[in-house]
């Protein structure tokens, strides 16, 4: 980890220190770190455990339990395709495939890892305008496969 990231981590951890009688909150701490660094690198588990006064295993247990906590840095753009039932019924699977194809064919394999992370997400609560694609926190609704190139063009 770079010095800069190390500093950001240390700063964030300071804000998560609990003052008795407050209990240390592992999940809240990990979410704070993720919001600062973009992910929670597994090698900082001991440092987190030490600040919170819990065991490494407790931190690792929480980190591995929640699917929205990531230990790898995502690409510059995070594309999440909803796989909830309404999106599935409205052919969200075809949209996911179109996005994967676009990223592979148009953006290219090497650039893909840096630029785009494509993943499935559980129901986004956007069911009334499904299928849903979430790009960097913005929701797009009623997406059809042929929309994909114009949708992603501005993120290239």
């Amino acid at each position: 980890m770079t010095t800069w990231l190390g500093l950001r981590l240390a700063e964030t951890l300071e804000t998560c220190r609990s003052v008795p009688p407050e209990n240390p909150n592992i999940l809240k701490t990990l979410l704070a770190i993720q919001s600062t660094l973009g992910h929670v690198p597994a090698n900082v588990i001991p440092q987190i455990a030490q600040v919170l006064g819990v065991t490494d295993a407790q931190v690792a247990g929480v980190l591995s339990y929640y699917s929205d906590l990531r230990t790898q840095s995502p690409g510059r753009h995070l594309i999440r395709v909803c796989t909830g039932e309404s999106c599935t019924a409205n052919h969200g699977g075809l949209v996911l495939r179109a996005i994967q194809d676009y990223v592979r064919d148009v953006v290219g394999d090497r650039a893909q890892a840096e630029r785009f992370t494509v993943e499935r997400m559980s129901c986004a609560g956007n069911c009334a305008v499904s299928p849903t694609v979430m790009i960097d926190g913005d929701f797009c609704g009623r997406v059809i496969p042929s929309d994909v190139p114009s949708l992603l063009e501005r993120y290239r």
Partner: protein, 497 residues
């Protein structure tokens, strides 16, 4: 030039449907002033733009940026009061939707907000619980437990510290009414929680909001800040401390004991009950965990009285229910109506039939653990008891329609895989059963199943139903088994051997 005041929803789904594109395109245009409101929930009409007329609001549907001149000139448009989808609803909890600015506390008050809290503050705590008993309100999150019973237990349990927790981990696929409430009428949730705090003597509250709802968490934080500045977060002489906690993508955290574990920062694993959270919940203290919709229903009960609430709906299901239509239906959106209408009526009257070019195959009610209904079973009235008798659940009111292109084997596999992914791992039937179930469905899907595979799946399903610790494992077999029951040919064809 005269500036025309127009209204455009700022709800996540409205924005996803194009409201943001309109706002961007029209920003800086002197001829209009855009007021960003909550959404009426008629999402099939979004983006929808409204403006005032002497006879009430008028709306333009599915608006594109170059429709602006028409709207400014007042050409076309439909009076909002004449939109059938909205006209046929009975809106109490969602009465403000589409009308007010979500974070305008003064507008909330002008439209009757905070009157329920005032009523609660004029009553002794026992009388608040009594009003809820009369109302016969049942929890809207899925379990449908009588709300007053929970509150009474928490009220009568002696403790220095008690908590009120809003379950905003709306994980059921096909549901979005909690999101709408948090984004669109956040003070209603706060008011409901304050009434609960007063009734049980709680001094701290949390809104446990799922990670997928960033706009809802933002709106709630902002609304809490405003409520604090307006000195609303005070109960009698003690402050009521309210904050938003965010989850991290675990479906099972919608179960109350798992939610509390997660709120304490641990793995969101389900605990055996008893003790129930109302006696021993967050940090071992009495805690009321209720769904967002439940809390949002409560202010009206205090204003209009428990008897008013009990006068709506059916024998075992009083009041109104927020149904959320999605999937291959023509008119997806939010429908608030008293309990009792049949599923077919809801799909016809509000859903408007099927999306163009598709034919009905099945409808799933109650999220990913809900049963599937074929056309022959649509005449079931929507209430907790009829659904329980049919072995189904109403859950949180999600209704997802599937069309004839849906492959039932694939869908059944999707459901089992969902449970396998989301199982917290605490109990064996769910942890292992869901994985075995998914494997069996994988084999059937690959054409490698035998007649024995289906028997095994049924047997496994019955075991999971009977022995799982919580509803995730206990309900997971229902969508799979109802798919086999109603569409046996699709499974048999692939399980020949």
């Amino acid at each position: 030039m005269k500036t025309v005041r127009c209204y455009l929803a700022n709800d996540t789904s409205s924005r996803a449907a194009g409201a943001e594109r309109l706002a961007d395109a029209w920003s800086g245009r002197p001829e209009i002033q855009l007021i960003r409101t909550s959404s009426r929930g008629a999402f099939f009409l979004e983006p929808m733009v409204e403006r005032d007329t002497p006879s009430g609001r008028k709306a333009w549907f599915n608006v594109a940026p170059d429709d602006l001149p028409r709207i400014v000139a007042g050409v076309g448009g439909t009076p909002v009061a004449e939109i059938p989808f909205l006209q046929q609803q009975t809106r109490f909890t969602f009465a403000n939707f589409g009308i007010t600015e979500p974070l305008a506390l003064d507008e909330y008050q002008t439209r009757g907000g905070l009157k329920g809290l005032a009523a609660a503050r004029s009553l002794p705590p026992e009388a608040i619980v009594e009003e809820l008993r009369i109302s016969r309100l049942r929890g809207r999150g899925g379990a449908a437990f009588p709300v007053w019973k929970k509150w009474q237990v928490a009220q009568q349990t002696e403790s220095e510290q008690k908590y009120v927790v809003a379950n905003a981990d709306e994980g059921d696929a096909g549901t979005y009414c909690d999101r709408m409430i948090m984004e669109g009428d956040p003070f209603r949730l706060i008011e409901g929680m304050l009434i609960c705090a007063r009734a049980i003597g709680a001094t701290r509250g949390y809104i446990y909001c799922r990670y997928e709802y960033p706009a809802a968490a933002r709106a709630m934080r902002f609304a809490i800040q405003k409520a604090r500045e307006a000195d609303l977060l005070d109960c009698d002489d003690y402050p009521f401390d309210l904050e938003v906690a965010v989850g991290a993508g675990s479906y099972v955290c919608g179960e109350e004991t798992a939610l509390l574990e997660s709120l304490e920062g641990r793995r969101g694993v389900v605990l055996a009950k008893p003790p129930y959270p109302a006696e021993s919940g967050l940090y071992g203290n009495p805690t009321i965990v209720s769904n967002v919709l439940t809390f949002a229903t409560i202010p009206n009960i205090l204003v209009r009285g428990g008897a008013w609430h009990a006068s709506l709906g059916t024998e075992g299901s009083r009041g109104t229910m927020a149904l959320q239509l999605g999937g291959r239906v023509k008119q997806p959106g939010l429908v608030e109506i008293p309990f009792g209408l049949t599923l077919r009526d809801v799909l016809d009257r509000f859903g408007g039939g099927m999306a163009p070019g598709s034919r009905f195959k099945a409808v799933q009610v109650g999220g990913p653990l809900g049963s599937l209904f074929p056309d022959s079973q649509l005449d079931i009235p929507i209430c907790y008891d009829t659904f329980a008798e049919a072995g189904a659940i109403l859950g949180h009111g999600g209704i997802v329609v599937y069309d004839d292109q849906t492959n039932m084997v694939e869908l059944a596999r999707h459901f089992m895989a969902f449970t396998a992914d989301e199982s917290c791992g605490k109990c064996t039937p769910c942890r292992i059963g869901s994985v075995r179930g998914r494997e069996i469905l994988d084999r059937i899907q690959a054409g490698e199943g035998t007649a024995e595979s289906l028997n095994l799946l049924r047997d496994l399903g019955e075991t999971m139903k009977a022995t799982s610790l919580c509803a995730l494992g206990g309900r997971a077999p229902y969508p799979v088994l109802t798919a086999i029951e109603h569409f046996p040919d699709e499974f048999r064809v692939r399980a020949q051997g």
